[in-house]
Amino acid sequence: MKLVGCGDSWCWGAELVDPAIDPEPIMNLPGGGFERQSVPENIKYRLKNRYLNQFAKHANIEDIVDLSLPSQSNDAIFRKLVAWLAENNYLGGNDTSDLIVSIGWTSPERTEHYYKERFGDTNYAPYGPWSLDQDFTGQLGETEGKKLNEFYNLFFDMFGAPEGFVTKYIHTVFLTQMLLKSLNIKYVMHQAFYHHHEQMLRDWDDEVYRNKNLVMSNELSTMWNLIDSDSFINKDSTAHHIMIEQGSLEDSFIVFHPSALGHKIWGQYMFDFCKERNII
């Protein structure tokens, strides 16, 4: 069986580093500590401990396709999954019986834009509330960088209303479900977390986020009710919530991401959910 993992930094395993060589949280280092993540011992530690691999271990799956990446939006998660299914001809009729897809949806306010020029390794530029704190002049040059700095500030102020991003979010989840069902692909989804801009993770509150942002119109409720709760783990909750419930805030998280314990809890929880519902 092949496990396809989709998600953002929580799925990727950000901040998971070997305490034997990095005892302190790396997020406190300049640049968010991503340099430390690329140390071979830390890569090994991350891949061993993150929930995707924990789940694979419980399910005896050795073949993992990793489509996750830190900062990804739900738009990017969907786009990359479709691209992978297309590249491997699963959209064109290849047998899908050996696949299981795991999707950890990220916070709904994130999006991406197709920048006319290269934006790092691709043309897709990720956008999240953190984009307001970034200066793109170093990456794109003085003129274009300033334009993007201004644009993102305006985008946040003028186009960042919840009524807009919650609509896109529900469309994306619904569309993904339809696609996977139509291709007879086994799958399991969950909401990783809701991101509270300018707040530390210890202050995040799912209920506050939901009441403020996930207020659904009739049409969105119709669509949300069609999301299969036998494939979407705790449809109206988050992995973040379960990790706090089964572990503790201090032990399940590092700074902005789950600790090895948090990942362990979620890997087991996901496996039990899939087992109970005969997904695997």
Partner: protein, 263 residues
């Protein structure tokens, strides 16, 4: 059976003298023997807005009573829907407080000076930056196919009868060109594979590449002279079908639905 139409100015019947009685929706009503026609089409609408409008309509109480049959005329994919913050929409006294469509018309000089526009001159450069720098043909195309997949899946999951067609395709800057329908096989995503997941049983000319859109088909098959500017099935400006054009479209759609056994 009640007939429900979604689409842009083509489905609306823009520029027709007697729009209600001569647009293709009204012809279809007669041909299909529908008890009523509800035409939700709106000029200048984007595909994202058509999708939202359809979802909104379906979720209304009683919408699915009286055996609805839905016809969707998709518009050109480069149009974008943006969600302005409430405060901006309110200041501009917009009827729709949130969603606003961006199209090639935003590139016209002085467009943002229009009193009805939420894009005051000071915002215009940002809107233009978004429209021209943060999207391209590929990204618009990918969004468009996702919208088709979403709507097709939703209607099928709710067992609602429907038929789709593409009215126009890449209608740049008010000039309706006859363009070839191209799949993107290279680049970050192979869109042909996505396209192939859509059903041709409910989409007019889905797998034609030269004349997939209504405009393309009428131009190629009814006139045979693509150099003619003043096309007999189009109005004088050449941006919308005339009465004869609407009649042809209705026949085309009806024949396709009959051949495919949808009605």
């Amino acid at each position: 059976m009640k007939l429900v139409i979604f689409g842009d100015s083509w489905a609306f019947g823009a520029d027709l003298e007697d729009r209600v009685n001569t647009n293709y929706a009204s012809h279809l009503k007669t041909m299909m023997g529908a008890t009523e026609v509800i035409n939700m089409a709106k000029p200048g609408i984007s595909n994202a807005a058509i999708t939202l409008q359809l979802l909104s309509w379906i979720s209304q109480p009683g919408a699915l009573e009286d055996d609805p049959f839905i016809v969707i005329g998709w518009t050109s994919p480069e149009r974008a829907e943006v969600f302005f913050d409430y405060s901006v929409s309110k200041k501009a006294n917009l009827e729709n407080l949130y969603w606003t469509t961006l199209g090639p018309w935003i590139l016209i000089d002085n467009w943002c000076d229009n009193e009805a526009s939420p894009y005051r001159p000071k915002y215009h450069k940002y809107v233009e930056f978004y429209y021209t720098m943060m999207r391209n043909e590929l990204s618009c195309y990918v969004e468009w196919i996702q919208q088709l997949m979403l709507v097709e899946g939703l209607l099928k999951s709710k067992n609602i009868s429907f038929h789709m067609h593409q009215a126009i395709y890449y209608n740049q800057h008010f000039v309706t060109n006859h363009e070839k329908f191209m799949h993107w096989r290279d680049g970050p995503i192979n869109t042909e594979c996505m396209w192939n997941t859509l059903s041709s049983d409910t989409f007019l000319h889905k797998d034609k590449t030269d004349d997939m859109s209504l405009y393309g088909y009428l131009k190629e098959h009814k006139l045979g002279n693509p150099k003619l500017v003043n096309l007999p099935f189009m109005n004088e400006i050449g941006d919308h079908p005339n009465e004869y054009g609407h009649q042809l479209i209705a026949e085309l759609l009806y024949n396709d639905m009959t051949e495919k056994g949808i009605i």
